[in-house]
Amino acid sequence: MPISLQKGQKVDLTKGNAGLTKIFIGLGWDTNKYDGGHDFDLDASAFLVGENGKVLADTDFVFYGNLKHASGAVEHTGDNLTGEGDGDDEVINVDLSKIPANIAKIAFTVTIYDPEVRAQNFGMVSNAFIRVVNANGGAELIRYDLGEDYSIETAVVVAEIYRHGAEWKFNAVGSGFAGGLKALCQNYGVNV
């Protein structure tokens, strides 16, 4: 049974899951069931940040334009342009054992591509979720359903994994931001 989280909850990721190193982060959402309007293109990204909450280099931002982190610890498996279908819309592979020591936290975010032009926001997105799956065997460890609590935000920090001593923990952040991916990049210190 995976652990289902509420917004703001924090749980152990590695503690109690001895030997867990390779995980994948699945993110999913449903968009427009209506006619008209632009197609939705939602993008999952990962920000690898240090103790100060900022990236150490611009390449610590893993997204559709930089699919693999230099360390090999984080790899985005590619952009899904429509968000159609059930299950994960985008998947990010994480190898906990390869995460450089100076990375304290990885934030997983979902942003709407081109939100101003397409006049879109998270108020139009439903059933968004994030899940953490053990890549070895495929067991779902953690799941966080974001619910439909979002409004006119264009970016959501869905969750973070962070170091806690020698272990990793998971934080169901679920915070929405205006300003899309650009605002997140600024927040995490990525030069755009």
Partner: protein
């Protein structure tokens, strides 16, 4: 006043006292005909209780929790969310276009929720939309507490698409129905259920169109005219013609005084066939097609069958709704025109339907035809009759009949 934008969601109690009445007003500035409707739906997003569809035909919900005030382009509702039964989880406020036009062509849509001095306002110009003919303006939904979502998105299919979307597919068991329905007519659904269960799925789509066009109480004779020219052979063999019969029978059951469909076939000659009802409709298409075609002569002589139809209904006290199926290659423009003009003083409405053909000739120019007492005919063509959604089909078939009906009543033709 707080301006909100599309996609906005928030708890309603941040702005209003939800135990009291909230006014929801919806205004459209544009040149089409606009209708507004409020659907009160259940947890599954379905209209399981039709009493909670508040629109021009039903201006209040059962306990007056939702009351419609005004109509058309300027609609207002008075809503008391706290009085709604717990099974109603969402109120969906919609705007749809009746007839031509799209939401992309409007100048402005504004939705205002207000209570005393507090006001939330959503304002959108036409460029926020595209080809939608129906939009969900806002939704009030219950998730722990009541929330507002400024959806402002919709469907290209109009009110019918909305009804499809929220349509209470699941049959509501006994408790609600019956008492409120007109006692004189046995419900179409029940009649089909007992007499022709294969057709029962057509009851709902038809009912939607009937309500939409205010035809639920209409009594009319219903006729079906089938083209049996040789080019129709494919349509007979692939089941299209049987499907036409299947979809027409419920109309006859609904409208007709005796539940029968008067049937004609025509080639070069025309022939009246035994009337069709729920008992024999599966045999309305002859087994021996070649024999039928041969006996009626290879060709299509529309005037011949039109004359027979006119003779049958001339001077009738009941209106006659004639569904005329052709696959095109329509000639005899002068004769057809003359018959349409002559029959425009009779209680006969011609609904021509083209199926998978081309060259519909004069039928395609009906709208510009002059000389008639009233506009007594409509035409549309379908590439594949079988693939048209029933709701859509009935909506098109009944599009001009109500106006004609009004006109002939006013002119004392019936």
């Amino acid at each position: 006043m707080t301006e909100i934008q599309r996609g906005f969601r928030n708890k309603l109690d941040s702005y209003f006292d939800v135990s009291k009445e909230i006014a929801v007003s919806i205004s459209v500035v544009g040149s089409a005909n606009y209708d507004s409707c409020c659907f009160g739906v259940d947890e599954a997003d379905k209209l399981s209780d039709e009493g909670y569809m508040v629109f021009y035909n039903q201006t209040a919900s059962p306990k007056r929790e939702i009351i419609l005030k005004g109509s058309g382009a300027n609609t207002a509702y008075s809503v008391n969310l706290s009085l709604l039964p717990s099974r109603i989880c969402k109120l969906v406020f919609t705007v749809s276009i009746d007839g031509d036009g799209t939401m992309g062509q409007i100048q402005n849509l504004s939705v205002t929720l207000s209570q005393e001095n507090n006001e939330l306002k959503l304002n959108l110009a036409g460029n926020a939309f595209h080809h939608e003919k129906a939009v969900i303006a806002v939704e009030c939904y219950k998730k722990d507490v009541w929330h507002l979502a400024a959806v402002a998105s919709g469907f290209n299919g109009g009110l019918l698409a909305l009804l499809n979307h929220y349509g209470g597919e699941e049959e509501v068991s006994g408790e609600i129905d019956n008492s409120t329905k007109e006692p004189s007519k046995v419900s179409l659904e029940k009649r089909l259920q007992t007499e022709a269960p294969q057709l029962v799925s057509l009851a709902k789509p038809l009912k939607v169109s009937l309500e939409k066009h205010k035809l639920t109480e209409t009594i009319a004779r219903v006729a079906l005219v089938l083209d049996s020219s040789r080019s129709m052979t494919g349509r007979y063999r692939d089941g299209t013609v049987q499907e036409i019969v299947n979809r027409t029978v419920p109309l006859a059951v609904q409208f007709d005084d005796d539940g029968e469909l008067d049937l004609w076939y025509y080639g070069l000659r025309a022939e009246r066939m035994p009337s069709v009802n729920t008992g024999n409709y599966q045999h309305a298409v002859p087994q021996d097609l070649d024999k039928l075609m041969k006996s009626l002569g290879y060709g299509n002589n529309e005037p011949a069958v039109m004359k027979q139809v006119i003779d049958e209904y001339k001077g009738s006290k009941l209106p006659a709704y004639v569904i005329f199926i052709t696959d095109g290659d329509v000639g005899s423009e002068k004769d057809i025109k003359k018959l349409l003009i002559d029959s425009s003083t009779e209680p006969i409405f011609w609904q021509f339907v083209g199926v998978g053909g081309s060259g519909y000739g004069v039928l395609e120019r009906l709208d510009n035809m002059s000389g008639r007492y009233v506009d007594n005919a409509n035409f549309f063509a379908l590439d594949d009759f079988r693939r048209v959604d029933a709701t859509d089909l009935y909506s098109r078939m009944l599009a001009e009949f109500p106006e004609w009906l009004k006109a002939v009543k006013r002119l004392n033709i019936i």
